[in-house]
């Protein structure tokens, strides 16, 4: 099928999904099958769209149609196709998952939810393919508005509305910056067409303004650290199949926007652009994961991990920018590929994890890990898929997270080649050490999340009565788990795609970057340095090790297993004796107390019996310095200032007439001076 027809097909399927949901609003079951089914088909069409772009050899396809606003241009180049691929895969899985998951919402404005869901998919499709400034901003804001309504879908809880407000406010400010960046470019290039935006002649300082606006604008949507505050609020509030899409794909569209700017519109820039991106990236990754570790709400925890992973993605991108600025096209290619690989990986495993969290929520009706436990026995498949996702996000071999983190490590390792002197070495080594720290913290966090949620005994009645989720939900998760494995064990195909994506941009060269002559290794060879990644060998090593372990363990025949209760000093073990998530994170909370500033509150309930002691609860929370030092003062300051300024309208008629006189006099004076 020709690509433009495929595009129209995907577009049409999503539109149909919206319409069918609205038409069948009286019959939720039908809505569910119809609109989510159409969404699945649309996402599959998107995948084939992306695949055909790559199959055509990264050919850029442009087609346009007239719209009242002017020409709307759709452009499918390799960059868009790559993001479409990630979107298609995650979207397919999320839509299949939604068939099962969204049943919970049958009596809560179901048609609206299904319609918005399809509209959300549609808007992402548009964002990734539109190639005209105004239409892009419309699609961008459409995506925001639709997801805002999705976040606010369960408005029965006040907190959700607050989260939705914070979300739309932050992204609206971000969009303002994006619009500034675009308009500055457009006013220099005298065009609204993406393809021609780079032709504008701009001074270096103006380019830097565009860069900063794009970075902060898209960074807000991506959840880069000082602008991330909406993310841990909004993602948990949305229904889980939506959170999966938001965290998996929507924040990646911001990376897409940044890539468009940094690769295409601006081309290379001065070195400090890349360094700034690197600095923001490392802050996001370390603090993102630290805050994640302190969370007990499963979905908030995952949301903070999105901050972390966006940081890892930007480490690759930032390094790429530094290399480009220093005229090292091969290394730049490597770094950008590392970033993009992580984009894909994070899309896959984060969606998977959100779906897993959604499954837990679906069965137990709680997201609080302290209330969970023992689910691996009630929901074995969910547990397995969640474990795959957890291992992948922790960067463990042989899954996909490892590959992209490996590439990122390599890219950072070569950073001193671009930044000469001891400072470059220091910077590189600090970034590597902190990325290592991030990895270790992420592993800790997912040991906590997985262990406390799925292992040991249930900690609440909800967890006790949990049951495995419907097969559609499992199918969605299974698909993504497979993708995690596929992109981990066999990275060659993805690297091939990514070479196509980044090749051809100014200052980047991937020709001969990867040597795929041996089946088991991806070797890359730049003129300055090299590295080898051998995922199949790693798998082989682990497999061989497992084999050896089994051989050793079974040397003396199959062991007899004697069942015996866990030893708890003679007491019958109960779930209350289990290590809690709070306890698990305690050493790290204490070690990082200078940046987390944890506050322990002991809440004593003395109402029970004054003689037999009291009931004590420990409430621990950490300080979010970004809020404390930036947003809260800002909010208060703005509010106080606004309150103060409302004194302008003091209610006195005389004052008002005074304004008119004053302005008359001022304008008269100005005009005589003109």
């Amino acid at each position: 099928m020709p690509i433009d027809q495929l595009y129209i097909l995907a577009f049409g399927l999503f539109c149909l999904g919206v319409v069918s949901a609205l038409l069948t609003s009286e019959r939720p079951k039908m809505t569910n099958i119809l609109s989510h089914g159409l969404a699945v088909l649309g996402c599959i069409a998107t995948i084939s769209l992306a695949v055909s772009v790559f199959a055509s050899g990264g050919q850029t396809l442009v087609f346009q149609f007239d719209a009242p606003l002017g020409l709307i241009k759709i452009r499918l180049d390799s960059l868009a196709a790559f993001f479409l691929l990630a979107f298609g895969i995650v979207g397919t899985a999320a839509s299949i998952y939604a068939i099962g998951y969204s049943r919970e919402y049958y009596n809560r404005r179901y048609a609206q939810l299904a319609a918005l869901y399809n509209l959300f998919l549609l808007s992402i499709l548009l964002v990734l393919t539109i190639s005209q400034v105004v239409a892009f901003i419309i699609a961008w804001e459409l995506m925001t508005v639709v997801s805002f309504f999705l976040v606010n879908h369960e408005y029965e809880k006040n907190a959700n509305t607050g989260a939705a407000y914070l979300y739309i406010l932050m992204t609206h400010v971000g969009t303002a910056f994006i619009a500034i960046a675009f308009l500055l470019l457009a006013s220099q290039a005298h065009t609204m067409d993406f393809e021609l935006l780079k032709t504008g002649m701009m001074s270096e300082s103006l380019r830097s303004v565009v860069f900063l606006c794009a970075l902060f604008g898209f960074g807000t949507k991506a959840g880069v650290m000082p602008m991330h505050i909406w993310l841990p609020e909004a993602h948990p509030a949305a229904p889980s199949h939506v959170s999966a899409l938001m965290s998996g794909i929507m924040i990646k569209t911001a990376i897409y926007g940044m890539s468009r700017f940094f690769l295409e519109f601006l081309g290379g820039g001065p070195e400090w652009w890349g360094q700034l991106v690197l600095a923001l990236a490392i802050i996001s990754s370390v603090f993102g994961v630290l805050y994640a570790l302190m969370e007990h709400d499963l979905k908030r925890l995952l949301a903070y991990h999105s901050v972390e992973n966006i940081g890892i993605i930007l480490l690759g991108i930032g390094a790429g920018m530094v290399f480009t600025s220093k005229g090292m096209p091969l290394l730049a290619g490597l770094a950008w590929i590392a970033g993009f690989y992580h984009v894909f990986n994070h899309a896959v495993f984060k969606s998977l994890l959100f779906m897993g969290a959604g499954a837990v929520l679906h069965s137990t009706h709680t997201k609080d890990v302290e209330q969970l436990g023992g689910l691996i026995k009630k929901m074995p498949y969910t547990a397995f898929f969640f474990l795959i996702g957890a291992a992948a996000i922790a960067g463990l071999p042989p899954l996909n997270g490892f590959v992209s983190e490996w590439l990122t490590f390599q890219a950072l390792f070569f950073l001193p080649k671009a930044v000469a002197g001891i400072l470059g070495k220091f910077w590189a080594v600090i970034l590597i050490a902190l990325l290592g720290l991030t990895g270790a913290l992420a592993a800790t966090c997912f040991v906590k999340a997985f262990g406390v949620t799925f292992l040991a005994k249930p900690r609440s009645a909800g967890a006790e009565q949990a049951a495995e989720v419907p097969w559609t939900m499992l199918a969605g998760m299974a698909g993504l788990s497979l993708t995690c494995v596929a992109a981990g064990v066999w990275p060659q195909w993805m690297l091939g795609i990514l070479e196509q994506v980044v090749a051809g941009y100014d200052g980047i060269n991937t020709a001969g970057l990867f040597d795929n002559s041996q089946w088991y290794a991806v070797a890359f060879e730049t003129r300055q340095a090299g590295g080898v990644l051998t995922m199949p060998v790693v798998v082989l090593l682990i497999a061989a090790g497992l084999l050896a372990a089994i051989v050793f363990a079974r040397w003396n025949g199959v062991p007899r297993k004697v069942s015996g209760e866990t030893w708890t000093c003679g007491i019958v073990p109960t779930a209350r004796m289990e290590y809690t998530a709070t306890g698990f994170a305690q050493p790290i909370r204490r070690a990082f107390s200078s940046v987390l500033n944890p506050v322990d509150e002991i809440i004593t309930d003395k109402s029970l019996n004054p003689y037999h002691g009291v009931k004590i609860r420990l409430h621990v929370h950490v300080t979010h310095y970004v809020n404390e030092l930036l947003y809260n003062p800002l909010k208060d300051g703005v509010q106080n200032l606004a309150q103060y300024l409302t004194g302008i309208q003091a209610g006195s008629l005389q004052l008002y007439i005074g304004y008119i006189m004053a302005v008359t006099v001022v304008v008269l004076i100005i005009s005589t001076r003109w």
């Binding site: 209610g651 008629l653 005389q654 007439i657 005074g658």
Partner: protein
């Protein structure tokens, strides 16, 4: 003409010292009479018929109906008066401002519009407008503010007279109608204010803010 101008400004200055409502209405009535006379004089000078009609309208509306309406209002407003010393700006200061605006008008505005036929009345007209504006700003009584508005309107009218011998008749009639309706509306509002607030002190009207 010169004499009329001086009388007019004198009336305006007098106005700033008045606290009694009835007296204030009287003064504004005198003002309107002077404006009407100015109309007549210009009519005689230029032999324009419509100036006489304008004079007639002025006397009918500004000397007749408007003061009549205000007088009718007065009985409802017993014991209402501008309390001297409680004005937003003290009486002396407001007189001073009035004088200042007169000086400013004469000093600044007349050189800027050269070649006007009746140049001497022009600064007077401007200063009358300014005085009206100041008057609204400095007084609290609703009726006083209405009077300020009428003063301003008089100034404007005189301004029109002095630079262009008045606007076309149809527009003038429209303006007269507007002034009339404005005063009627304001009188209704004042009456209602007295009913609801038991006072026509506009400094009480500060509830709507922010």
């Amino acid at each position: 003409m010169e004499l009329l101008t001086i009388l007019l400004l004198l009336a305006a200055i007098l106005q700033t010292r008045v606290s009694n409502l009835r007296l204030a209405i009287n003064i504004v009535l005198v003002q309107s009479v002077i404006v009407a006379m100015a109309c007549v004089i210009i009519g005689i000078q230029t032999h324009e018929v419509h100036m006489f009609i304008a004079a007639l309208l002025t006397s009918a509306i500004k000397v007749g109906i408007i003061p009549f309406a205000l007088y009718r209002l007065l009985p409802y407003l017993h014991e209402e008066r501008e309390i001297v010393g409680r004005e937003i700006v003290k009486a002396n200061f407001s007189t001073f401002m009035t004088l200042l605006s007169i000086i400013l008008s004469y000093g600044l505005i007349s050189p800027n519009l050269p070649g006007v036929a009746v140049a001497s009345t022009l600064p007077a007209a401007v200063s009358l407008t300014l005085i009206g504006l100041f008057f609204i700003m400095m007084r609290r009584q609703a009726v006083m503010q209405i009077i300020g508005l009428i003063t301003m309107e008089n100034g404007l009218y005189l301004f029109g007279l002095s630079i262009t011998q008045g606007l076309p008749l149809i527009i003038e009639m429209g303006i007269f109608l507007d002034v009339l309706v404005a005063v009627v509306v304001l009188v209704i509002l004042t009456y209602r204010l007295k009913l609801s607030l038991e006072s026509t002190d506009t400094s009480l009207l500060k509830k709507l803010k922010g």
